[in-house]
């Protein structure tokens, strides 16, 4: 180093990314416990694809491989994407989505730190727009389906599309809690009756509400490690809960309460791992709060009134567009230049 400062704090990017991946582990473990090993297969597929596409793009762009392959950012994108696709989706879906996320959403924009949109959410959006049927076929939580797939059978289904003889996919599949509520409401059933079905647990979906707790634990760890600012998860979950409460109070027979919305779908995962992507979120304290809150409201609107299984991805992508403007409008006052302060 030729110029000051001559000291640097040893917390490289790699450690940051490793901690983010580590924070996902409790949720992933609960996920595999509840739905079987399908999710682990998806994670493995996404990870391999991400590293391969990352390496290919770096080579094409003439960038050094080692520092960028080992920074861990591609892996975090891959893991988030793998957690967003149905655990029993065919193998090529997560591979395609990861390739789009890394190749298109990340490297076409200039690589790490340059992307306008959250890469994982771009990959997810491509899948949900192109393959809506496959993307809504979720496996039933273990113990709730008419039939169950063992680990090997799950592998077989993901890679070859073959189920054990005499078993139809519908027997092991189930609509997600969010989908179930929307469909049943459309058929005119009262909400209280819908939520009494076995697929619903105490607050969210049976089994999946525990996974949500796993994301929460990981998220709090990230906040405690000062890797995510509180404004993003608090703004997001707060706005989602407030919007849900408002609708619920206005018409409790039609709109589920805030607890249901926090504990279902990708709300909790999104709040701590997707909304918090630093590259695509604003950087000012008020900007972060505003961004996250608007994403929370949009999530609610899309998941309740839209036709997609959940609203997190599109809410985040729409807010990504607004990030530069929000940053511009929420610049904090600089030292010595605050209005209304003695000085």
């Amino acid at each position: 180093m030729r110029t000051s400062p001559f000291l640097v704090q040893p917390t490289p990017l790699q450690i940051v990314m490793l901690k983010v991946a580590g924070a996902l582990l409790p949720g992933i473990a609960l996920y595999a416990w509840t739905f079987g090993i399908g999710v682990l297969v998806q994670i493995a597929l996404a990870s391999v694809t991400a590293l391969a596409v990352e390496a290919g793009c770096l080579k094409l762009r003439g960038r050094p491989l080692q520092p960028f392959l080992s920074d861990g950012s591609a892996l975090v994108t891959a893991w988030l994407l793998a957690l967003a696709v149905p655990p029993l989706a065919p193998w090529w879906m997560v591979v395609l989505a990861t390739a789009v996320a890394i190749g298109l959403a990340k490297h076409l924009y200039g690589g790490l730190g340059q992307n306008t949109f959250n890469p994982a959410m771009v990959g997810f959006a491509v899948l949900i727009v192109s393959f809506p049927a496959q993307m809504s076929r979720w496996a039933a939580p273990l113990g709730l389906g008419m039939a169950e797939l063992g680990g090997l059978a799950q592998l077989g289904w993901i890679f070859t599309g073959q189920l054990p003889a005499g078993l139809a996919f519908d027997a092991i599949a189930s609509a997600t809690p969010l989908d179930t509520v929307r469909t049943a409401l459309g058929q005119g059933q009262p909400l209280a009756q819908i939520l009494a079905a076995p697929i619903f647990g105490d607050v969210g979906g049976t089994g999946s509400e525990w996974i949500v707790l796993g994301w929460l634990v990981g998220g709090v760890f990230l906040w405690q490690q000062k890797l995510i600012p509180w404004q993003l998860p608090v703004g997001y979950l707060g706005a989602l809960a407030l919007t849900a409460s408002a609708f619920h109070l206005a018409d409790p027979a039609h709109y589920a309460g805030p607890g249901f919305h926090l504990a279902t779908g990708a709300a909790m995962l999104g709040a701590f791992f997707i909304v918090t992507d630093p590259v695509t979120a604003p950087t000012t304290p008020w900007g972060r709060l505003l961004y996250a809150a608007l994403a929370g409201v949009l999530t609610y609107l899309i998941r309740v009134f839209g036709s997609y299984p959940d609203g997190v991805a599109f809410a985040v992508l729409i807010m990504n567009i607004a990030t530069p403007l929000i940053d511009q409008l929420t610049q904090p006052a600089v030292f010595g230049r605050k209005r209304g302060k003695a000085a």
Binding site: M1, S4, T11, L112, T284, G336, K341
Partner: protein, 527 residues
């Protein structure tokens, strides 16, 4: 116990103070030669008033202050002037600047010191006296002290900076432990000169002995010694002022105008020596540390070659270079042949173990850790983008020039981006652009003035020609007496006045700009 007003951000780098703060300050033996730079402060360099071959006495002025923002320079010991010539100075550029080279005679023969009755002298006389004794800020910014003392009819709070927040540096710590009484006497002087309502001495809590010594020395007086938490850069003048008074001094504003002013403990001690003993600033305490055999603090004459100091401390074999100042804001010395200057609070011998090479720079992921660490409450990641994109206007709008270059952002950056380098680059590009714009404006004005002159001459020649062709009643004046410049004296006069006025205005602007820049420099005292 007054309330602390915590500033935003700050970092906790490893302190490395224990290596050098244990032993008493020792005197360095006279070196064979002193290389005294004539520009050791912010502002104009002093003008040499001695020549090669002159004999000088200890304390004799060898450089006179030039203009308002300047300070005098003195012979640190008695001896003979060998040369007045450009020598390498302690500056990152490694460029040579005018120095007075003195060969000490070992007699330490003092010039006749005159006690100055500052209590009965009027304000300007005291300030001139301090300028002529070369007293400048010793915290590192070397802003001429008389300018900081000027212009205060009353002051709300006088802040005395003993925070010494930068790692490795312990010269203020030792000074407070060993010469607290002189600092106390200096504080009393500054308080009286500035008519300060209250005095607060800020010291970081990692210096308990210094805190004790200062409390003892300030016991009789109404001075509050405030213990502040160890948090870099609490020793920045702006940060310490905020910490102790809650007032924020924006960039480009004189602290005095807001009722506060900040002096480093070393500066206050030098003020005491100057006003009570008539002693000019001839030496300073400097921390010699890092990869050396005998780390510690020495009192060395200004102009002592840095190689002499490092030899005294015993440089280890694996040293790869030397840092002048602290590791957060100092710079790499291009050569150890330079002489010690008034700003030299610390010299650190670097080796690979203490200062490992910087890890490779990765892209910015906008994590905002830098913004959380920035004590100026800037958004360093945005300024970095603007600097990279050469959007200097936007960087300026986002207060690039409020950056104090403390290095906290670069220290915490997980991508190891050398943020401060980008900010220095952007600042120098903006300065260069301003300079060339000023030069262009000047050139355009000159061009316009030349055109006006030429047109006027042409017109006058035509008029003269017309006058000659008409019959004249009186004999014409001799041609030699009517040079083209003199003849049209009357019509030319207003143009000349115009030019004079423009020159005067330009000089006033330049002076204002210099003062503005000097005002900025005022901020950095301490560290």
């Amino acid at each position: 116990m007054s309330r602390l007003h915590a500033f935003h951000g700050g970092i906790h780098p490893p302190e490395h103070k224990a290596e050098s703060n244990g032993a008493r300050i020792v005197q360095v033996p006279l070196p064979p030669q002193l290389v005294v730079a004539l520009n050791q402060h912010i502002g104009h360099g002093a003008k040499p008033v001695v020549a090669a071959g002159d004999r000088v006495a200890k304390g004799q002025m060898i450089g006179r202050a030039e203009g308002r923002v300047s300070a005098a320079v003195h012979a640190p010991t008695s001896g003979r002037v060998l040369a007045v010539e450009p020598r390498v100075v302690a500056h990152p550029s490694g460029l040579a600047e005018l120095c007075v080279v003195i060969e000490p005679d070992g007699e330490e023969r003092w010039i006749e010191r005159q006690r100055f009755d500052w209590r009965n002298a009027d304000g300007p006389a005291v300030l001139d006296h301090l300028r002529d004794l070369g007293v400048v800020g010793l915290g590192g910014a070397v802003f001429p002290s008389h300018l900081k003392l000027a212009g205060a009819r009353t002051l709300d709070t006088l802040v005395i900076n003993g925070a010494e927040c930068e790692p490795y540096i312990t010269c203020d710590d030792r000074l407070m432990r060993e010469r607290a009484d002189e600092i106390g006497a200096g504080i009393a002087i500054v308080r009286q000169l500035m008519n300060a309502r209250q005095v607060k001495v800020g010291i970081e809590d990692n210096k308990p002995e210094a805190i004790e010594a200062m409390r003892l020395a300030c016991g009789g007086q109404d001075i509050e010694v405030v213990v502040v938490p160890t948090l870099y850069p609490s020793g920045g003048a702006k940060q310490l002022t905020r910490l102790l008074t809650g007032r924020e001094v924006p960039a480009g504003v004189r602290a005095t105008d807001l009722g506060v002013q900040c002096f480093n403990v070393g500066t206050v001690q030098a003020l005491y020596r100057a006003l009570e003993h008539g002693e000019p600033l001839l030496s300073r305490i400097v921390t010699l540390t890092g990869a050396v055999a005998r780390p510690g603090n020495v009192e060395a004459l200004l102009g002592t070659p840095l190689s002499h100091l490092m030899a005294f401390a015993g440089v280890a074999a694996d040293v790869t270079g030397h840092v002048y100042g602290g590791p957060m804001m100092g710079f790499v010395l291009p050569s150890l042949e330079a002489g010690l200057t008034k700003s030299g609070n610390c010299i650190i011998a670097r080796n690979a173990e203490l200062f490992p090479p910087a890890p490779p720079e990765m892209p910015c992921i906008r994590c905002g850790t830098c913004a959380e660490a920035c004590p100026a409450e800037l958004q360093p990641m945005d300024l970095y983008w603007f600097a990279r994109a050469r959007q200097f206007g936007r960087a300026q709008e986002r207060h690039l020039f409020d950056c104090i270059e403390c290095g906290a952002c670069a220290y915490v950056c997980p991508s190891n981006i050398r943020l401060v380098d980008y900010f220095r680059y952007a600042k120098s590009e903006i300065w260069a652009a301003e300079k060339s714009r000023d030069a262009a404006t000047l050139a355009r004005r000159r061009h316009e003035a030349r055109q006006a002159r030429q047109e006027r001459d042409k017109r006058e020649r035509a008029e003269r020609l017309a006058a000659r062709t008409t019959p004249r009643p009186a004999p014409p004046p001799l041609p030699e007496q009517v040079t083209p410049q003199e003849a049209p004296a009357a019509p030319a006069a207003p143009t000349d006045d115009d030019k004079q006025a423009r020159i005067a205005a330009a000089m006033a602007r330049a002076a204002a700009r210099r003062a503005g820049q000097a005002g900025k420099g005022e901020g950095g005292d301490g560290a």
